[in-house]
């Protein structure tokens, strides 16, 4: 056997390579099994990333169905409330390049909250049926009101209201929510002054 190998260097090399390949392949396979990182099913993870506005702008009745659809291969840029941040996060999770938001589904807007002009409400309960997160309180023929903290700003209750008494109001920032903005990019800062100087010179 040994002599056979020493005589046939070609054969020896082959055997060595195949042997090594099997060995490392086996090792890697074992490691992959042994040190597997347990993780949530992908739909769950996707759902975690979606904004849960439940607005249906993506064309699905809620965020979870859309998460399911993404897992089945749908495009990831259909959620306007989440905007670019959500698209980036999903792209990161799925390890694909992030597309920009598909305008066909809407534009990224500032968050709003629904507000019912209560004296105009006729108590038809249509908005309650439309609200995906049960954030509207009221009973038939009685005034309705929105629980502002629970409202996701999905816009779905506005359309069904027969007397048009629901407004979507932008959330105003108060002093407690204010935060320092990130400093402007120094390059932009200088670039503007520099180009300004340029114009002066010209």
């Amino acid at each position: 056997m040994i002599t056979l190998l020493t005589d046939n260097t070609m054969l020896a090399a082959l055997i060595a390579l195949v042997g090594l390949g099997t060995l490392f392949g086996g090792l890697l396979g074992y490691a992959a099994e042994r040190f597997k990182v347990g993780s949530d099913p992908i739909v769950q993870q996707l759902d975690e990333l979606l904004p849960q506005t439940q607005c249906g702008q993506c064309g699905f009745p809620g965020c979870r169905p859309y998460a399911q659809s993404i897992a089945d291969g749908d495009a990831i840029n259909k959620c306007p409330p989440g905007g670019q941040a959500t698209i980036n996060a999903i792209a990161n999770l799925l390890d694909v390049t992030a597309p920009s938001l598909d305008e066909a589904h809407g534009e990224e807007e500032i968050r709003t909250v629904a507000y019912i002009r209560e004296d105009e409400c006729i108590g038809c309960t249509k908005c309650i049926q439309a609200c995906p997160v049960d954030a509207i309180l009221g009973a038939a023929k009685l005034m309705h009101t929105v629980i502002a903290e629970e409202c996701t700003g999905c816009d779905l209750c506005v359309e069904p209201c027969p007397v048009d008494c629901i407004d979507m109001l932008p959330i105003v920032e108060n002093i407690g929510q204010w935060q320092w903005p990130a400093p402007p990019n120094p390059i932009d800062l200088i670039a503007t002054t520099a180009s300004g100087m340029h114009e002066d010179a010209a």
Binding site: W180, P183, I187, I190, A194
Partner: protein, 355 residues
Amino acid sequence: MAFKQVSSPHSHARQSTGQIMQLVLLATLPGLLVLSYQFGWGLLINILIATISAISAEALILKLRNRPIEFYLRDYSAVVTAVLLGLALPPLAPWWLVVVATVFSIVIAKQLYGGLGSNPFNPAMVGYVVALISFPIEMTTWVTPVSLLAADVSHPGLLESLAIVFAGNSPVDGVTGATPLDLFKHSDGLLVEQIYQNNSLFSAASFAGVGWEWANVAFLVGGLALLKARIFTWHAPMAMLGTLALMSMLFWDGGSSNSPGSPLMHLFSGASMLGAFFIVTDPVSSAVSNRGRLIYGALIGLLVYVIRAWGSYPDAVAFAVLLGNFAAPFIDNYTVPRTYGHGQSRRATDKETSE
């Protein structure tokens, strides 16, 4: 009455990045003077060519990148790179060699990565290594130190040097020769004592190798001055020199024919001091924390010794630094300092969030 909205802190220390770089330049002066004394005009010409090409290359790229040129040139980082490169390249090297090395440093190793602060590798060393690999002959032709010149030969004068550099005239015989590290490497089979005796590069030296020893001392002085001025901390340079000394002590076997050389020779030859105080301390490409810089410096010291002793290049600072640069992010991950109020330090890649 309206006033400006600015984030604290409102006052600032006076030292600016440009000033730091200028101080670094100033600190290379002693080394520069000694080297020029020892090796003639070639070095100054190198530095001049390098500086001009660095500034032009930087300006060009800034223009292409649509950045304010003057503002960025004022940080002096291009000049520092150029001067370091000029000091490292052999005197009387052809002009195009210096230009290629410099332009490569600035354009490829620095600006293409996003400019100052974003380059993972030390630009000067990248330029140096590229030149070394591409033009080995030019890069290993050093000038003989002034005290070893034969009685009838002298270093070329300024005009003559310019002719050599720009017109490709070849220098007079006897002006160029090996460096001590070179010589040592290529004297296999001789006892260290024999090498020392046979060769005036060593026999005429005070403690390491003629010409180089005093240049290294000068860089050491400049470096200590920077340390005193708190431009950098002691961690990286001391770790590097310490490891280099330690390794050469361990393997210095009293001077057999296999000995890689004495600690003194290693510390004061080649680019040891220049590297320790001007290259290893380059903050951009080194590890960030003090602990990290200790490891980083030690790693470079180790690599310098390993390559010098067992590799095929006589000097190794450039390679060692680049390898150290490679390892820096990895070192950083494990050397985040312990924050006030935390039991122990964390990894840079820790997932768990602190509330």
